[in-house]
Symmetry: C2
Subunit: 302 residues, 2 copies
């Protein structure tokens, strides 16, 4: 899993910082998470190929999380995109996009599928043979979801020396990688364990923005390899966090600690602070393995 | 009159170029013309104070001319704007903006006035004591207007030496600047010409984008001090210009020549061309006083 932060600041696009958008690459799939104004340019700057984006997840309908979406959809038209595009986001997103396309008398040459969300319970919204995506219901001023990206268990790794020793034909390799034992021509059964190594454990990434402190999400995000959690404020502005239904760095760290995630990634910083280092310091007093998102940063989950 | 080009390229925002937006400063008024994605950041980079923008003119509802508007309106909210904001643009613009504010559960703390346009005839859409703005009906794939910004005649310039010579009290200065003659205490009439100099002639700026070649606009833009005219293509792509209802550099120059404008400013270049210098070369074969718009460029009309 590889996360590219396109933007991780709250509220408005500025000269040197961008509002929320990030790209998750997992098992050759590219997921775009949120799409604020400026996302297109950030995609170009970070050399993400537009044609590889087939699924876009929008957390909520505040502008700093989706005002770049209609422009990206339009750019896909100009690039003569043919591939289906799937958009997952709160109810209303379809109406907003289609209204703008109607007035510009534009029609996409590709199929645009809207998967509108309105459940307050977690639900599976994407699944294929390698990856599963669930919503993480969040608590914010308007209907908001985080997203949990889970790799499915990987196939077992072939022990080339072992399969050669037993002279097993290549046509059986996939069956062995799937975990099956093998019966040799002489009738002897070779257990799968003798022929394979354990695969790397599947990874789990939780994206939680925007939200106030919310322990209800803990069962869902438990043991995640990484969690991106918003930290709009520091504890000195905890009254503002409460009022605007955002979190402080310390609150984000407390969620990370309780959920026993492996790594916490902070973001969605208010631009009132001169340095984002203070967010790290505050969070690390609660949860040591905290890193700071920043525009253009790449985070690999090994 | 001072024009700051925020963006002048067609279609999509890119790493180094921006789609259409520009700022016109005239007699201490600041007008924003078109507002593509990225306009907010361009305003910041060019040090235009957000609070000075009270009037925004949108030519048409293609994304590369207005996708930045909803974000700018939202940023004005975050900045606690109190002043009225007036938006002039095609019918539909109000529905698009208000739908997005509704779903984000946002309400502006300032008054937002939409002046929706649907006439195919030129009409006066703004007027105060110093400036007048008319629409310039354009021919494009959807309903589009250019805008003609006209200064009203300026007051006459006081000849300080002359008024002192006749010992005229300061309380008459404004009357004299308004063009009136003065009767002295001794009954003698001093003609205004003796007391004042001619003011600078009022300026006229025509913004024409997007449009195909259209001679119908000539009477409106005649003798303008400057005309910004789109030139999406070169003559080598005239078939594309015709099909997409855009203009070539040569066509823009022909309009400039027929209208006898003083200066032609080209923009809205397709990003297919490696250099924009070719636009200038092509236009100057027809109309010599042609300059190229470019992002960040400031053009003063002296």
């Amino acid at each position: 899993m590889k996360i590219t932060i396109l933007g991780c600041y709250a509220a408005t696009p500025r000269t040197l910082t961008n509002p929320t958008s990030q790209v998750l690459e997992v098992r050759n799939r590219i997921f775009l998470i949120d799409c604020a104004e400026g996302t297109q340019v950030q995609l170009r700057k970070n050399k993400i190929r537009f044609s590889q984006i087939n699924h876009i997840f929008i957390s909520h309908l505040h502008g700093d999380h989706f005002y770049g979406l209609v422009g990206l959809i339009s750019t896909f038209m100009l690039l003569n995109r043919q591939t289906d595009l799937h958009i997952y986001g709160p109810k209303g997103i379809k109406e907003i996009i289609l209204l703008q396309l109607k007035y510009s008398n534009s029609y996409t040459g590709y199929s645009l599928f809207f998967h509108e969300l309105e459940s307050s319970e977690s639900e599976i919204i994407f699944e294929d043979d390698k990856v599963l995506v669930r919503t993480i219901p969040l608590k914010h001023r308007i209907y908001t979801n985080g997203f949990l990206f889970e790799e499915k268990p990987k196939e077992r790794k072939l022990d080339i020396a072992a399969v050669k020793k037993y002279n097993i034909d290549k046509c059986y390799y996939q069956i062995i990688k799937n975990g099956k034992d093998i019966v040799l021509d002489n009738g002897k059964t070779i257990s799968n364990k003798e022929l394979t190594f354990d695969p790397l454990p599947p990874k789990k990434y939780a994206y939680c923005s925007d939200t106030m402190y919310n322990e209800e999400m803990l069962p869902l995000i438990k043991n995640a390899d990484a969690m991106y959690h918003e930290a709009t404020f520091l504890e000195t502005e905890s009254d503002k966090a409460l009022k605007t239904m955002h979190s402080t760095a310390k609150e984000a760290a407390t969620i990370a600690k309780l959920a026993q995630v492996k790594q916490l990634i902070l973001g969605h910083y208010s631009t009132r602070y001169e340095s984002i280092e203070m967010f790290k310091t505050e969070a690390q007093s609660v949860f040591e393995n905290t890193i700071l998102a920043d525009d253009g940063k790449i985070i690999e989950l090994e």
